[in-house]
């Protein structure tokens, strides 16, 4: 046994305990998600069978149903059709249906992408500029302004739903991508400013002063020297903003309908025959989970230090 460990280091027993707790926690949080992923690969019958099937024959019916619109036809009509051209047509025919066209899912999904990434970029960009100004300049009423910015998050955003609904209708921003980007940016901005200000405060001002003496303007110094230094904070802030605008449901239901509807209000409306089409909903949510997951994994190495910012100083 290694006896040379420092007293400050946790013992191997407490390390094992910690690992066990983390595993239990991970299992608990992963059960619903894995159930959802499993459902997406079930067929319509096994998805609602009782007792629930843990082992099942995988099927892509959910994904096919997610991406297509179908209609039920009589057996005679189906027999009169030429043989199915590909596997998904065959799958739909076996359910006595024909594909009538693509569903709206892809459009809703790309709306979510545009609005999610658009508002994340806008929040982080504006937040970084504001945070830099608050961190470096003598802004009149600085503390009051910062408190005001924070106070916009002291009520749930949905509390102002009615005024926003009326405003958006008058301004013609309802059901537009721009409108949703602006809305999510406004909600995220206070978080972005506060988070990023903490990071900017930690960057010594000598860096940009050196850059300014080296022949750069303050704005150039900001982009060349300060922003790369703030990458950790930017990554963490971007993830928080992305998660919020990606998942946001209430405003999306209220303000979008045809043109700019995002995936969250769309997925629950996937209705199958004689009940909810659970495999399709499972498929929709599984695909919906992917971008945030990938985004977080890409920025993961910045995230740990990002979330514990302020706690660990150089």
């Amino acid at each position: 046994m290694d006896t040379s460990r420092s007293y400050l280091e946790p013992s191997s027993f407490s390390k094992k305990m910690a690992a066990a707790i983390i595993i239990v926690y991970a299992v608990i949080t992963l059960i619903p998600i894995s159930w959802m992923v499993m459902t997406s690969f079930k067929n319509v019958d096994s998805a609602i069978s009782y007792p629930p099937e843990v082992l099942f024959e995988p099927s892509l019916e959910g994904y096919v149903n997610l991406f297509t619109n179908r209609s039920r036809q009589s057996q005679e009509y189906l027999d009169s059709l030429p043989p199915p051209k590909n596997w998904y047509e065959e799958l739909v025919r076996s359910r006595e249906m024909v594909i009538t066209g693509p569903s709206k899912f892809l459009g809703r999904y790309s709306n979510s992408m545009i609005i999610g990434f658009g508002s994340t970029f806008a929040s982080v960009f504006l937040g970084a500029l504001a945070a830099y100004a608050f961190s470096r300049f003598r802004v009149p009423l600085k503390d009051d302004l910062l408190f005001f910015i924070l106070s916009t998050r002291m009520f749930p955003p949905i509390a102002v739903a009615v005024p926003i609904f009326i405003m958006y209708r008058k301004l013609g921003l309802g059901d537009t991508h721009l409108g949703m980007i602006i809305l999510y940016t406004v909600v995220n901005l206070s978080l972005a400013v506060w988070l990023l200000k903490g990071f900017m405060d930690e960057i010594p001002k000598e860096y940009e002063e050196a850059a300014m003496i080296d022949g750069y303007s303050r704005l150039q110094a900001f982009f060349k020297v300060v922003l790369p230094q703030a990458m950790t904070g930017i990554a963490a802030t971007a993830i928080f903003c992305m998660i919020f605008s990606w998942n946001e449901y209430a405003f999306a239901v209220l303000l979008t309908q045809f043109n700019a509807q995002t995936a969250p209000p769309f997925i629950p409306t996937i209705i199958g025959e004689g009940g909810l089409d659970w495999p399709a909903i499972g498929a929709g949510t599984t695909l919906f989970l992917l971008p945030v997951m990938i985004f977080t994994i890409i920025l993961r190495k910045h995230l740990l230090r990002g979330i514990t910012f302020g706690a660990v100083r150089k």
């Binding site: 860096y207 850059a211 003496i213 750069y216």
Partner: protein, 336 residues
């Protein structure tokens, strides 16, 4: 390189705290000028005002007789070596050195940048570190690169804010010598801030002594050492520190309130004054003996080693010509 002049410079922080008061200073082209003073005396503020990082309340900054008081830092063409945090951590050493040359003010062709960077890297002996990230360097290497980033340009003036203070003693000495050589080779105008008297005396062509935001004396290191105009200035240079004693203790011609006695001007062995040994410190090439003389502590520094023991009676004397005389408000009394 340029001649740099400061005229009637005033600077306050937050409209209350006086940082600089009526600073008048001329740094000749090619001069190594050292600002000496304790922390809070306004040394760094002076540098920052010349660089344009601080707005001054009133006064003028002139480069080669041209008034640049209201110019942006980027257009002043100066370099600044900071005490710390001096490298851009996300860049390699090469990129750090090339950074000022790639700025919109200069935009040199890459080949020329490469030549300049390599020349400087060779001079500072960091050629093999060029590909390293700035964060993968030791403290000494970092500061070399920081100095290198200043040297790749030929600015109006090099401003250096205690560039060696964060280094260990040995490295500090080596870099000090290197810095002086570089300055002589380039005939560079340098304004160097320090509170380290060894740096001041070895590097400076001229020293300016700052006290609470005012310049109290300007002169060569010899002048500042041998001919200080006040007790404050006399205490800036010399190790061990100058002895400041009441004049009444000694047989001097007239009533002198205070005298300053450099430790090396005291002769031990015999003489009219008798005290007791408090401590003996052997520093190798010299020995510092502390003497209690009528309840005043006097430091004497003797070449080589000195044999004595604590509490032993000791006689001493000094050359009256080497005594610095001061009045009641700590100003120098000059002989006619």
């Amino acid at each position: 390189m340029a001649k740099v002049e400061l005229k009637k410079l005033f600077k306050t922080y937050n409209k209350k705290i006086k940082a600089l008061e009526d600073i008048n200073l001329t740094i000749e082209d090619g001069q190594f000028f050292v600002l000496l003073g304790p922390s809070g005396a306004g040394k760094t503020t002076t540098l920052r005002c010349i660089a344009g990082l601080e707005k001054i309340d009133s006064g003028d900054v002139l480069f080669n007789d041209e008034n640049i008081t209201h110019d942006q830092p980027a257009s002043r063409d100066v370099t600044f070596v900071f005490q710390q945090y001096s490298l851009y951590p996300h860049y390699t050493v090469y990129e750090n050195l090339a950074f000022p040359l790639r700025s919109p003010m200069r935009k040199l062709p890459e080949q020329e940048i490469k030549n300049k960077v390599e020349k400087i890297a060779e001079m500072l002996k960091i050629t093999n570190k060029l590909k390293n990230k700035a964060t993968q360097l030791s403290g000494g290497e970092m500061q070399r690169v920081a100095i290198g980033r200043a040297l790749v340009r030929e600015p109006n003036i090099y401003l250096m804010d205690e560039p060696l203070s964060s280094l260990d003693a040995k490295l500090r000495e080596t870099l000090r010598v290197e810095l002086k050589n570089i300055q002589l080779n380039l005939n560079a105008t340098i304004l160097y801030v320090t509170h380290d008297q060894a740096e001041a005396t070895t590097l400076a062509d001229k020293i300016g002594v700052l006290k609470e935001g005012k310049i109290v004396q300007i002169g060569t290191p010899e002048e500042i050492y041998e001919n200080p105009n006040s007790i404050y200035v006399s205490q800036r240079l010399g190790s061990p520190k100058i002895n400041i004693l009441p004049g009444s203790l000694f047989k001097l011609d007239n009533n002198i309130p205070k005298i300053g006695l450099r430790p090396e001007n005291i002769e031990l062995g015999d003489g009219p004054y008798e005290g007791r040994v408090i401590s003996i410190e052997n520093l190798g090439s010299e020995t510092v003996v502390a003497i209690n003389f009528q309840d005043n502590e006097i430091l004497a520094s003797i070449q080589g080693s000195y044999k004595s023991s604590i509490n032993e009676k000791i006689n001493f004397d000094f050359n009256t010509n080497k005594v610095l005389k001061f009045d009641n408000i700590d100003q120098r009394i000059y002989e006619r």
